[in-house]
Symmetry: C2
Subunit: 358 residues, 2 copies
């Protein structure tokens, strides 16, 4: 098969070290020559942010962080940055905090240093999101990509095991879905495979030893790669389904991803032998689905969409909304019939292998 | 083991497609909004460059390309670019041609689009090189990194099989040596592993079917990854040895790399079980050395340094020069004794396994 692709690698510096956030942040602020730093952290994350910022001078603390970045919240933060002559943004927190820093960078072109405390992955992408009149708009702008990401697994120790697992499986979904996404190419596939390997090793370690750094490091590293691969390859079938289940049916984000993933994998794998083999190898398992299901079992992962409020009544509508959004790159043709079967199986938590020879 | 690293990802666009160079170059020149393009190509590469530039307006053709980029050659090219109000550099060729474009970008900050015709890999790095009074100086500057690389395997069809093999094994050496180089990290290791896989699949295809695109594509893709991994991880033991054999003893570059590589692998592998396993998996072989040697056998690769003018008399001097340059990151402590044994084995083409339990 002929090799043909366009791949954009986003330039970024990653400093990875447990317990080293404060030291790495101080060195990076000095390297960038910044003197008026704005640190963004929610009230909840403020103690963590204070520890991370122990070695730098902070010109402005900003705590007004709201989920999905409402435009009013963004405008206030932009005005604060402008009013204080800020020359560098530092965000310490999860996706909403990083998102707010990006909203400021969009208009000000200020550089960002991101210090993530979850597996959201926004820090590794050039995608911004804003919510106006309860509609979320997203876009792409290289100016919102953090110049530097500082990963410190010690900052994720307070993330409870069940949230770590759900968020980690969300990262796993980024990796697996990127293999048949519209801009899938060998480079983002290699990074996705490395992400699967790291997440599959890290998540069971977190479950077994929540206060140990080893599993947290692997999961954080895997989540970073999942974001790089996903931002590069785009959304595949899995994300189209989960987007509808979340948006139209209000199902919880991470749990929906964790539940649906094995069904999409079982559905696509027979038509995507290269991806199947790559996923299997990354899990160190005989097959891709076997590897994923063994991991999910060890993690006691979510099993059925019915546990999260989805019902059989919603299937027809979900299918109707998902179908036109399915990427042309999907290895298996998606029809009303087979998508209905997929959602039926995911609803009840049936063995995904029923989809293999559908 | 704790995960701790600093990784710099260089931002770059890669357009990969056989027979698509002219179309991709025209689209990229338009995207960058350039109107005064300077195309750099040696006399030998000019027909290739003309074909690649078929869809763009060229303000200036520049053919004065000299190996290792002498400073006089660079100065002339810089003056030509300035004199013609150039706003974009396009280089079509191997390492010397890319190197000349970089020399212009160093001082002018002009963007570069690189269209490589060999596996040299310079197009994927921020490293420049200049030769003044027969001394080569190299340095790092992000401004010399090409904005875009256009890979077209059709442009490499004229590279003879033996040069493709030697140059491809040089790329293989970049990948393998990066696994224990000073800045080795999990990200550049994943890219190196993907490079090993692609090169090990592509090179035998080139040997079997020199006019087919399949093997050339895999080799070109693998060579790209080898350059990314090597630029990120730095020089390991293998490159330190080959640098001395080339610089002090004037041995030919690619053949020296191809010959020495199995000896360094055999030497280091027992002390680097993770790298060993990764290399083996990338080759799809039971062991790293087995995988490399099977490939070398299929390619009839160079076997003994004695075939290239090295003699036993040179070993003591080579050891003395290499020893202080060995990176601290090398997994196995290097001594006068074991380095002498390594070079003795490489001199005569002895089975590298003698080094495994040295």
């Amino acid at each position: 098969m002929s090799l043909s692709f366009d791949h954009v690698t986003l330039g970024q510096r990653v400093l990875f070290g447990t317990g080293a956030a404060a030291e790495n942040l101080a060195a990076e602020v000095a390297r960038l020559g910044a003197s008026r730093v704005m640190v963004i952290a929610s009230d909840f994350e403020t103690p963590t942010a204070q520890a991370a910022a122990a070695g730098i001078e902070v010109a402005l603390w900003h705590h007004d962080v709201v989920m999905h970045v409402p435009i009013e919240t963004a405008e206030k933060a932009r005005a604060a940055a402008a009013g204080h002559g800020i020359d560098l943004l530092v965000c310490v927190g999860g996706g909403s905090t990083t998102g707010l820093a990006k909203a400021i960078a969009m208009t000000s072109r200020l550089p960002i240093i991101a210090v993530p405390t979850t597996y959201a992955g926004s820090e590794a992408t050039n995608v911004w999101g804003l919510t106006e009149a309860s509609r979320k708009t997203t876009g792409v702008d290289d100016a919102v990509l953090p110049v530097t990401v500082i990963y410190d697994a010690a900052l994720t120790l307070s993330l409870p095991v069940d949230m770590s697992v759900a968020s980690g499986l969300n990262g796993m979904a980024h990796c697996i879905d990127s293999l048949w996404a519209p801009r899938a190419d060998p480079i983002n596939a290699a990074l996705a495979a490395e992400g699967i390997r790291a997440l599959s090793q890290g998540l069971p370690l977190i479950a077994a030893d929540p206060s140990g750094a080893g599993g947290r490091e692997q999961a954080l590293y895997g989540a970073y790669l999942s974001a790089v691969a996903f931002a590069s390859a785009g959304s595949g079938l899995h994300h189209k389904i989960c987007h509808v289940l979340g948006g139209t049916f209000n199902l919880p984000h991470a749990q929906t991803h964790a539940t649906v993933l094995p069904y999409v994998l079982a559905f696509n794998a027979p038509a995507a032998p290269d991806a199947e083999a790559r996923i299997a190898a990354a899990f160190g398992a005989a097959g891709a689905l076997t590897g994923l299901q063994e991991l999910r079992k060890r993690l006691d992962a979510p099993k059925a969409l019915s546990d999260y409020g989805f019902t059989a009544d919603g299937i027809a509508e979900a299918v109707a909304v998902v179908l036109p959004a399915v990427p042309a790159s999907n290895p298996r043709p998606v029809t009303t019939e087979n998508l209905t079967a997929l959602l039926r199986a995911a609803l009840t938590g049936e063995d995904p292998r029923v989809l293999l020879d559908l």
